[in-house]
């Protein structure tokens, strides 16, 4: 491969990586509080549809992205009520949420006639002065959301590692009984975590529709939500590792169009399998290298029932 192809490849990587990164970060917030959120695929679709709807109506990308976050949060209230208040099995509730959202977004998208209408995305933002570097300078010309992703990650990582609020959230996911005994309101924290995490997952979906592809097609997330769920396990619930994992997935996905452009003949459908195959491979690799200290939140997937203390 020539240098130009490599450069193109690396320059297009962030665009593919951001949805994985944001979705995984949202899931980490949820799961750190002990709620296994399998609904990511559905919430991404909700974000994607709401984003494009707002974009078609208002034409303001920033507003569209915020509205998409709100929409995903709103839908996740349903999930939160199910798993936190009604103690529904989190796997069943998550799956039901995915299919609920798939049906809902396809229905709303076709009823509102938002399908296949191209919109204007957001422009690129050059990171001065790095963008002036000869050759590699164009790596630093990305859209604003790419640059915004880094402070979002920084803020969440700082929140978990350095703030007492973050500590409380982790306590709720690690040992809700102890957290409750310490006066932390488990239910309220879990609710907040699901809503906040879902907003980020919705943002990830809206990034795909508003920023990347600039249009809506039913089911357009195509399994990225599930890959993000796998990515969280790979990242051992750590935000920075999730970002690294997302970049890895972005690299792989970005490579495919570059190879095609360079004239490399690849069996198309096998190429389309790669993100899923890589996810599977990563899961196996994580399992093989399982370290002694398990980073999984202790109460992940378990509903909290106060009376069970007795």
């Amino acid at each position: 491969m020539s240098g130009g192809v490599v450069l193109n490849w690396l320059a297009s990587t962030p665009d593919f990586a951001v949805p994985y990164a944001l979705a995984a970060l949202g899931l980490i917030i949820c799961e750190r509080a002990g709620v296994l959120s399998l609904g990511a695929e559905g919430l991404m679709l909700v974000g994607a549809l709401a984003g494009i709807g707002a974009q078609l109506a208002l034409g303001q990308p920033a507003v569209s992205l915020v509205l998409a976050m709100l929409a995903a949060s709103l839908v996740s209230v349903l999930f939160a009520v199910m798993v936190i208040w009604l103690r529904v099995n989190q796997v069943i509730a998550g799956l039901a949420l995915v299919f609920f959202c798939q049906g809902l977004t396809a229905l709303v998208g076709s009823m509102a006639d938002w399908t296949n209408h191209a919109t204007e995305g957001i422009g690129t933002m050059a990171l001065w002065p790095l963008s002036l570097l000869p050759g590699v300078g164009r790596l630093f010309e990305q859209n604003a959301m790419v640059w915004l992703t880094l402070p979002i990650f920084g803020a969440v990582a700082w929140f978990f590692a350095r703030t007492s609020t973050g500590l409380r959230l982790r306590a709720v996911g690690e040992n809700p009984q102890a957290a409750d005994a310490a006066g932390i309101r488990v239910t309220a924290w879990r609710f907040a975590a699901v809503l906040a995490g879902s907003a980020l997952v919705g943002l990830a979906g809206a990034y795909i529709s508003v920023v990347s592809t600039k249009l809506w097609i039913a089911g357009m997330t195509g399994g990225r939500g599930w890959i993000a769920v796998g990515l969280v396990i790979f990242a051992r619930w750590s935000p920075w590792k999730a970002l690294a994992g997302a970049m890895l997935f972005g690299c792989i996905e970005a490579l495919i169009p570059q190879l095609a452009a360079a004239g490399v003949q690849l069996p198309q459908y096998f190429v389309m399998m790669t993100p899923y195959a890589v996810t599977l491979g990563v899961m196996i690799w994580v399992a093989l290298g399982k370290r002694s200290g398990d980073d999984e939140p202790g109460a992940l997937g378990q509903p909290y029932v106060r009376e069970e203390r007795r």
Binding site: M82, L86, N89, A96, L97, L104, M283, R310
Partner: protein, 384 residues
């Protein structure tokens, strides 16, 4: 939190103690709390009532969504109730649709009984269909043995596609939810590779395999009812015998209740889990066979869509009981048939069927809360 009533809750022994007379003139709202208790047992008719109400609520919400989407309300009732169940042709359509539905429902319940979240039903179904089609494409075996060979190939392929996740889970502890899902996407892409590639019908160049010959299709039983439904019924009875009567079924119940205790009691836990999961894959493969040999007559590119979730839904609603799964599968099949006609007449997208199924699952899953818990008011009044 230092509420007298809550202290009494935490220490049942304290409830017998004489509490001071409550002050009725001023009772802050915060002291009027509701607390949750876990209900030990509920009479089955109450359980059935709650379940029935949940189903009705789910159907009512779904109907409201459909009406909002532009389907006239009276047409809806007519379409679902009258057309689907009281019209001979439509009832046959439901039976026709039910065969693969029953098989995926049984597949789901078999794996869930072993506490294995087999979300890869669609992938296994795709491989079952590919296996059956391969036998037809390559004309393996004599004509009169072709259909049984296709049957065996479908079972084998479905089983093999779930063997990987089963082994990864039991050997390495790889989360089966993710692994089976990823394998779905891979199987779907492989299917596209076949029908857009080497297996494309040379006659009209459409992305589906050449049509099966007459002896490669499941025969009709008579009155327009295909034998696929008979096959599904036989598998349902076998599954019922297996989980309800046989020794393996007893083992499976042990494993489902508590794998550790089961192991201590001498149950071959791993073998039981493997057996149930592989059987689940085999049944899903058989569902693929039922679609290609019973319905489509060829391998098509999107035949599997919606079956994975339906299988999970059926298993969940039937509480993994094979006979109940058969009944639920018939209802879901009716939903599919109704969905198809709504799609044709009102341009409602087919994912509407998914939405309705999800609403029903949400309602039924949530109603479980009222079966498992009771709300009890505690407060100063209640304690006194």
């Amino acid at each position: 939190m230092a509420d007298a009533s809550l202290a009494a809750m935490a220490h049942p022994a304290l409830t017998d103690m004489k509490t001071p007379e409550p002050v009725r003139t001023h009772q802050p709202l915060a002291s009027r709390r509701y607390t949750l208790e876990i209900r030990q047992h509920m009479a089955w008719r109450w359980q059935a009532l709650i379940l029935g109400i949940a189903l009705l609520v789910g159907l009512a919400i779904s109907a409201a969504i459909l009406v909002a989407a532009g389907v006239p309300a009276d047409e809806l009732a007519n379409e679902f109730v009258m057309q689907t169940f009281f019209d001979g042709q439509n009832f046959r359509a439901v039976l026709f649709q039910a065969a693969p539905m029953i098989l995926v429902g049984l597949a789901g319940s078999m794996a869930f009984r072993a506490r294995f979240w087999n979300l890869g039903l669609e992938g296994q179904m795709i491989w079952g269909a590919i296996g059956a089609t391969a036998v037809s494409m390559w004309q393996i075996g004599p004509d009169n043995l072709r259909l049984p060979l296709m049957f065996v190939a479908a079972i084998g392929c479905g089983l093999l596609w779930v063997l990987g996740p089963a082994w990864l889970k039991l050997k390495l502890g790889v989360n089966e939810i993710i692994s089976t899902l990823m394998l779905n996407y891979m199987a779907a892409n492989f299917l596209l590779h076949l029908v857009y590639g080497g297996w494309k019908d040379p006659k009209d160049n459409f992305p589906y395999s050449p049509q099966f010959r007459a002896f490669e299709r499941l025969p009709e039983l008579g009155a327009g009812v295909g034998s696929a439904i008979l096959l599904a019924g036989i598998v349902a009875l076998l599954a019922w015998w297996l989980v309800g009567v046989s020794r393996a079924g007893l083992y499976l119940r042990f494993v489902d209740a508590n794998p550790r205790v089961a192991h201590a009691a001498g149950v071959p836990v791993r073998r039981t889990i493997y057996g149930a999961v592989l059987l689940s894959g085999a049944m899903a493969g058989l569902a693929g066979f039922a679609v290609v040999a019973g319905q489509e007559g060829r391998l098509t590119q999107a035949f599997y869509q919606g079956y994975g979730f339906s299988g999970i839904l059926i298993a969940f609603l039937a509480r993994n009981n094979p006979l109940a799964a058969t009944v639920v599968a018939l209802l879901v099949a009716a939903l599919f048939v109704t969905g198809r006609s709504l799609q044709v007449f009102y341009q409602v997208p087919f994912s509407m069927v998914q939405l309705i199924q999800a609403v029903i699952v949400i309602c039924v899953a949530s109603s479980d809360f009222f079966i498992r818990h009771r709300l009890r008011r505690v407060g100063r009044e209640a304690v006194a």
